[in-house]
């Protein structure tokens, strides 16, 4: 489940018509900039914004458009062209093609955290430390801040984050007299009780999701991927990964997990009609509940993520995306100014209003945010739980510099445990084998 906020609708390349008005001004500003010697990329971002210019932004998140409009209002000399080049992997393919072709590369692109290392390693993203991004340390919660860093550099600023929590159907739990699980052990027990009480009800739904699997390893303390430049270590048998494998093997092996793929029609129906009792997923989920599962309104609640050790409070991230300045951008200073506006400035409130989950500490801790009562969740102050989850994210996780590929073959390997006698542990070792082969093929040194 590596989705950011609500799954963007597959609308065709969407250009904001409202942005056209400013085009003339922008073009004029550009010619002026050209006369004055090209406003180099090392320039001060604020000065660049005053000077003006044009920016091309690739993003699928619907809140980026109002942010761009707000920015242009504040900086009348800047014109932003927004393009939706597809969601997630579709956009990465387009972006990779543009980079290879050396033309048509945007100034800024939305990139999910798991895909960020791939582009950073390929030297396609600008290091933002020179532009002042290092001053932003402490602005964001540790999970997303950690995710945008690669080595010494900062290769993007967080748009949102996905600290995990337990979303559960309270009605179903009350009906069967089941306590809300606080540990994974209790979670498995609850799964058994629930399914025994009602054969049509399952604790959760999963058909093999690399994003969820890696997040659970992450929470368990597993660090299966270690990356040091082009030296990569893959160890999907480390303690945390094994803990995940054992837990999920019980659930899958005993058919306690509904074989329904996330984001399918059956899935949305199942969330609404009591087939699927819980979801352990990122904090960006509430918006999806409201738009996709209207019949679940009032039934669902949010609780902290189940723990591996009773009494602890450790979480992991699931999904979420950053926005990065592309190395090929000719106006990095201006691009950075917009990025800071979107990620740490006025853009944050626009995103919160649009249903996004912020990555900025100040907003997560604000009284107003924490006190908001969610009607969908029966008046629960869900942000208190989600905000705490953001603070509890376990540190030190790394994704592979080819995680996009890795996730794509997850079902070929680990997924087989869902449909055959193979175990998840066997699947993990097959996955590891494929990743090592692929990594070495691609010029990394992988062991």
């Amino acid at each position: 489940m590596t989705r950011t906020t609500r799954p963007a609708r597959p609308s065709a390349a969407r250009r904001s018509t409202a942005l056209r008005g400013a085009a003339v001004v922008g073009a004029l500003a550009l010619t002026l900039a050209a006369c004055s010697g090209g406003g180099g990329s090392d320039a001060d971002p604020e000065a660049a914004a005053e000077e003006g210019g044009e920016l091309l932004v690739w993003a699928w998140d619907p809140t980026v458009e109002p942010i761009a409009e707000a920015y242009m209002e504040a900086n009348p000399d800047v014109t932003i062209e927004l393009v939706n080049a597809g969601t997630g992997n579709d956009q990465y393919t387009a972006l990779q093609n543009a980079i290879s072709a050396g033309s048509g590369v945007p100034d800024l692109a939305q990139i999910e955290y798991y895909a960020l290392p791939q582009f950073a390693i390929g030297e396609s993203l600008a290091d933002l430390t020179e532009l002042g991004a290092d001053e932003l340390e402490g602005t964001y919660t540790p999970g997303p801040w950690n995710a945008v860093q690669q080595g010494e550099g900062v290769y993007g600023l967080p748009l949102d984050s996905g600290p995990m929590a337990l979303f559960y159907n309270e009605e179903l739990f009350t009906q069967h007299g089941i306590e809300v699980p606080t540990t994974w052990e209790e979670y498995v027990a609850a799964a058994r009780t629930l399914h025994a009480a009602d054969p049509n009800a399952y604790i959760t739904a999963d058909t093999g999701d690399a994003g969820l699997a890696t997040s659970l390893m992450w929470q368990a303390g597993g660090r299966p991927f270690q990356v040091e430049g082009t030296d990569v270590t893959v160890d999907l048998a480390d303690e945390g990964s094994q803990q995940y494998a054992e837990l999920w093997q019980q659930l899958v092996g005993e058919d306690l997990v509904a074989p329904i793929s996330a984001w399918s029609d059956e899935w949305y129906q199942g969330l609404g009609n009591g087939t699927i009792a819980t979801l352990v997923t990122g904090a960006w989920m509430p918006g999806n509940f409201e738009s996709g599962v209207p019949e679940g309104s009032g039934k669902w609640r949010v609780a902290p993520m189940p723990q591996w050790e009773a009494g602890e409070s450790v979480t992991a991230e699931n999904g979420g995306s950053a926005m990065s300045v592309m190395e090929a951008s000719e106006n990095k200073a201006l691009a950075y100014d917009f990025l800071e506006f979107a990620s740490a400035g006025d853009g944050v409130q626009i995103r919160i209003d649009g249903g996004g989950f912020p990555a900025t500490v100040a907003d997560l801790e604000s009284e107003e945010y924490l006190g908001t009562e969610s009607e969908y969740f029966g008046g629960q102050k869900i942000n208190e739980v989600l905000s705490q989850a953001a603070a509890d994210v376990s540190e030190g996780w790394q994704y592979l510099p080819f995680q996009v590929y890795a996730n794509s073959v997850f079902n070929d390997t680990v997924g087989q445990a869902y449909v055959s006698d193979a175990t998840i542990a066997e699947g993990l070792s097959a996955w590891q084998e494929q990743l090592v082969t692929y990594g070495n093929d691609q010029g990394f040194t992988v062991e």
């Binding site: 990779q96 791939q118 399918s264 199942g270 510099p401 590929y405 997924g415 087989q416 449909v419 691609q442």
Partner: protein, 307 residues
Amino acid sequence: MTQTAVPVAAAALTAPRRRRTRGSWTGWGFVGPFMAVFALVFLAPIAYSLWISLFRTQLVGGTTFVGLENYQRALEDPQFWSALGRVTAFLAVQVPVMLGIALLVALALDSGRLYGRDFFRISIFLPYAVPAVVATLMWGFMYGTRFGLVGNINDALGTTLPNPLSPDLVLAAIGNIVTWEFVGYNMLIFYSALRTVPTSLYEAAEIDGAGQWRVITAIKLPAIRGALVVATIFSIIGSFQLFNEPSILQSLAPNAITTYFTPNLYAFSLSFSGQQYNYSATVALIMGVLTMVIAYVVQLRGMRKEA
């Protein structure tokens, strides 16, 4: 199954010989536009695929010339062979079933003994007019064991039907979709071939006292031999190029349909998830050559007696 758009009769017809026209450049003027487009959208991509199949581009280290290494790798790649094996099994089972049904329907229509023949013909052909993507989505919903048709049957009758999207059955489930889509198309090929048989032959057969079965085996089937061969070749090409159906069902059955389920799906995954464009081009080229060879062999065998 993507059917190629070659006109049905083209392969069966042999062009009559003509005198060489004077002013050979005039002819080029007429075929020029076609040749230009043909070169641009057919020859150029193939040439480009050939070119990039000789290189290897890495995320770290860039592009290097590797000669035929990609081809060697494909020949030793178990995933490629399993994909090829799968479409071959599909070809061996689904194509005879589909063509058999199509032939049966065409003969039934041609026998003139059906009421509402035109309605029957149109309704059998109709699935072909449904885009493959839509058809697959539709069948995907029906295959659902929870909220789909299979689920409804289970609820109504208290049965536990096997899940059509489980790894053991998914190929058969895809075969069912493809058959549903293309029976009408093949039926139409056969039916139009049957319509060209002169009625005097049937009259002669009747005078000789031949029954319906004898008429079919002695007159109708030999008469539509060409059409049978053409339909078979199209079906072979379609089977080897199987892509739409598994690709769409993948989101419903991600563990049953692997990224290397069919050769085309494998080439697609290599390109778009793995960025292994060079190897992907190699796989695509090998599949193209294999398809051509097999289609050519079938054509040679099928047409031999006709000459």
